[in-house]
Structure formats: C-alpha cells, structure tokens
C-alpha cells in the first residue's frame, strides 16, 4: 500500500501536471489521493501518486517512495508535491536541495494537505500549468472554517 498508486488515464497526455501526495502515513496518502481523484470528476485525470509511510508500511517518510512517485507522475509538465507534516516536509525539502533525485520541474507546494490535494488534482486535471496548480493549492489556506 505504501508503494503508492497512480490514478488517472492521462499517460498519453504529455501536458498534464503530476501530483505527489506525501504523508507520514501510507493509508493517509492513499486515501487523500483517492478522495482528490474522486472529486476531480470523471473526465481526463492528472496523474496522482501517493507516497506515504516507510517502505515496510510503518509511519514515517521514505525518500525512495517519494522519488519513485514523482518519476511515475512526471509527464514533462512539472510535478506538484504536497506534504503533511514533520519528516514529510523535511525529506522533500532535503531532496529538492539535492537536485538530482526528483524530476526537473518538481515543486514543493506550501498548502494544506487535504484541501491542497483536491485543488491541485482538480486544476491539474483541467490542464492547468504547474504555476496555476500550485497557486490553486496554496489558495486553500485562505478558506477559513470558523
């Protein structure tokens, strides 16, 4: 389960931005991916991959799962990476600094995990560019609930 899923039938569409969901927990990443793709509707779907937990299914973050997920959803239009907390944030930041483990055009998005994931997958599936996808996800911070 922590290996991640690729959702969407967009393999033949080179223009879609990919979305990677990195959580401390495999089931959380998988569920948020399922929810975001479900809410994105039935049309063309951007590639989404979950990278949660450690390779043995425990809580934590795996650099390898993240890098593999990013490569799986990379269609050349960029990859938006959303993270939840703690080591998920730090691991992606450290990978970005490394420079060669993530695909070119991968970007860490500063957004709330669930709401940002829905916004990112919906906009990416609509064919938006990486900058629009990240902006939509970041805007999710602006929606106050109380």
């Amino acid at each position: 389960m922590s290996g991640g899923t690729v959702a969407g039938a967009a393999g033949d569409r080179a223009s879609l931005v990919g979305v990677v969901l990195v959580s401390h927990s495999g089931p959380v990443a998988e569920s948020v991916a399922a929810m975001a793709t479900g809410l994105a509707g039935g049309g063309i779907q951007a590639p989404v991959a979950a990278a949660g937990g450690t390779p043995d299914g425990g809580l934590g973050t795996s650099a390898e799962l993240i890098a593999a997920a990013a490569r799986r959803v990379d269609r050349g239009a960029g990859v938006a990476i959303l993270v939840d907390l703690g080591s998920a944030v730090l691991t992606v930041k450290a990978l970005m600094a490394e420079g060669d483990e993530l695909p070119e055009g991968a970007r860490l998005v500063d957004a709330p995990f669930v709401e940002g994931a829905v916004a990112a997958v919906v906009t990416a599936s609509a064919g938006a560019a990486l900058s629009e996808v990240t902006a939509a996800a970041e805007e999710a911070y602006g929606y106050r609930k109380a």
Binding site: G60, E64, A97
Partner: protein, 201 residues
C-alpha cells in the same frame, strides 16, 4: 592533533564510530523520545547509521567530502523520520564544502560542519533554545577545531535541553509538558561529535 590533516580513512572511522555508538545507545535514544516524541529516534538512527556503515564498507569513497556526502545521502534515504533529512543535510552540506580535497585540516572540517549546521537550521526553521539537535550542534561547532572541546560542548548542550520547552517538531505540541526531558536529537548529535575524538585516536 589539531594540525594533523584528515584523510578519507579518518572520515570513514568517524562515521563507523558514530554508527557503533548510536547502535549502543539506540535504546536510550528511543527512551528519551518516548515522553516527548514518537519513540522511534533510536531505531531510526540505528537503521540510518547501519546503512551508512554498510555503504562505506562497500563503496569506500576516496575523499573526506565524498565520505560525508555519501553518508548524508544515505541517511536521507534510510532513516525514515525527520532526523534523516536533518542529519543528512548536515553531513551532505559539510561534504560539499570540503569539496574534493584529499586531506583537510580540523579547522576546515570545523568550518564545513558550521556550514552544515547552518543548513540544518535553515531546513528545520529552528534556532538554539528550541530544544532541538541545534542545541548540541551549535555549541559543538562554536567550540572550534579541537575535537575534545567540540564533543564536550555538544554533550553539555544536549544536557542543557532538559529545562527547555520544545518549540519545533512533535514535542512542541506538548508545550510546557516538554520541559524536564532531554531532547533525543540533541543527544544523538552529541554522540556524533563524541565519535570525532574517538576516530582521531
């Protein structure tokens, strides 16, 4: 000792000594991580440094910089918790600063580690006094190029985290309840610096 140039073999000894000491202290690190963390620091660090030791046994990088860069990369890949990217960044940045010199002086190592500690602070967004590994790392690199002094400063810094209230990471959710516990990350940082004079023997 302070004028002796350090070669790749010294850096491999350092990492190997650090791995052995983390292996010995893993249970204690996890114990420290139980009241204020998620009780995985010892096993995470143990896994990461065992992987570093294994990598250095098989790959044996040829320069001090290459040893630290490879070790840092391995920690990011294998630790699984926040300490992976943090320690990985420390060693990798230090390794990059050392470049491809075949030998470096303790002063050059000190400067490289100081750059690594800055990178850790930037990555984690923490500062000294936040009850993190920085409370051991900052005094350690501030103590200068002498290994014994750096090790002592790191150990003292780790002890000094006991009365602090955590302001970063999971422990920060506990607020005042984090007071009275020694920070596990500062403790493992002290182990890393304690391995330096050991490697120089």
């Amino acid at each position: 000792m302070s004028e002796t140039a350090l070669d790749a073999a010294f850096f491999i000894r350092w990492m190997t000594a650090a791995a052995a000491s983390i292996d010995r202290e893993a249970d204690r690190l996890t114990e420290l991580d139980s009241p204020i963390g998620d009780a995985d620091h010892g096993s995470n660090m143990q896994r990461g440094f065992a992987a570093v030791r294994k990598l250095l046994e098989t790959a044996a990088p040829q320069t001090p910089g290459a040893v630290l860069t490879a070790a840092g990369r391995q920690l990011i890949s294998t630790v699984g918790g926040a300490s992976g990217p943090l320690y990985g960044t420390l060693l990798r940045r230090a390794g990059k600063v050392l470049g491809d010199a075949e030998r470096v002086t303790p002063a050059e190592l000190n400067a490289a580690l100081a750059a690594g500690v800055d990178a850790v602070a930037q990555l984690g967004g923490a500062a000294p006094g936040d009850k993190t590994m920085l409370d051991a790392l900052v005094p350690a690199v501030g103590a200068g190029a002498a290994f014994d002094a750096a090790a002592a400063a790191a150990a003292e810094g780790a002890l000094a985290t006991v009365p602090l209230q955590a302001r970063k990471g999971r422990a920060s959710y506990l607020g005042e309840r984090s007071i009275g516990h020694q920070d596990p990350g500062a403790t493992s940082s002290a182990l890393l610096f304690a391995a330096l004079p050991e490697a120089a023997k």
